[in-house]
């Protein structure tokens, strides 16, 4: 489904990696690891089409993503370092907007339910500005419950700032998505309690 070939990433003067190839089939979960600054975030942004690689190409169902950006992005759900929350809007409003902007349009009840499931039932009406770090993160992750139809999830350090229980819940959600035939690519420095140990791509191995 998702293939990357011969990827190279150059940042300023530094070649982070090159000749990186990866191929993911339905149901796979890939964990990208590597020490700080080895290019995990850079790789994920390239896979999403947010950044252009110095060399190489990314393919989705055999089509280069730059050729058919729209259908690739219809299949993708990305969550980056930044939470994509507006401080003035409530978690509910933020979530509805995030879905609508991505082209889905879930109704309010579905969004409220997703927020409840992720443990923000009590904060549904607060402006996002006053949320705690972990609560902000959760709003972004609530989209996962509404994006089940999107096969490809790309998550950059999703466990940051989450408490232990939330980490376990999220891990379960990710596993369920894979069992249902989805693909997950994630980075994390924490040890997440996956039932079956995920496939690992260690950037320390391909680094230049």
């Amino acid at each position: 489904m998702l293939e990357a070939e011969e990827l190279a990433c150059l940042k300023g003067d530094r070649l982070l990696f090159r000749g990186l190839a990866v191929r993911l089939e339905a149901g796979e979960l890939l964990r990208v690891t590597g020490p700080n600054g080895y290019g995990k975030t850079s790789l994920l942004r390239i896979l999403c089409g947010l950044a252009v690689p110095e060399h190489g190409a990314v393919r989705w169902r055999g089509v280069e993503v730059r050729r058919d950006r729209e259908s690739f992005h219809r299949a993708l759900m990305y969550s980056g370092h930044a939470a994509a929350l507006n401080d003035l809007l409530t978690p509910l409003e933020n979530l509805r907007f995030a879905c609508a902007a991505a082209g889905d349009d879930p109704d309010e009840a579905a969004c409220a339910e997703a927020l409840g499931r992720i443990g923000l039932g009590g904060q549904i009406d607060l402006p996002a500005r006053v949320l705690s770090q972990g609560q902000r993160r959760r709003v972004g992750l609530a989209r996962l419950f509404l994006a089940a139809r999107r096969p490809l999830w790309v998550l950059d350090e999703p466990f940051t700032a989450l408490d232990v229980k939330a980490v376990a819940d999220l891990t379960a959600t990710l596993s369920a998505h894979c069992r249902a035939g989805g693909i997950v690519v994630l980075t994390t420095h924490q040890d997440a309690p996956f039932e079956t140990p995920p496939r690992v791509l260690d950037l320390a191995g391909v680094a230049c």
């Binding site: 011969e6 070649l15 090159r18 000749g19 060399h55 230049c208």
Partner: protein, 70 residues
Amino acid sequence: MQWESWSAFWSMGGAAPFVWGSYAVTLLLVALELVLVLRRRRDTVRRLIRLRRVTAPDRDERRASKEMFE
């Protein structure tokens, strides 16, 4: 030749500040630009040479990367 004397030439019929002001500033700017351009070239070369020395150990890798970019 139109000028009776050098001093007539320099006074430009009374318009010396304007004429010479124009030419002087132009000359200054052109000279400045040339100096900046040449200095930039020198600095670039020096910087890149220094950079090459610093990264000398992985020069082989860089060569490989160049091949890859082709």
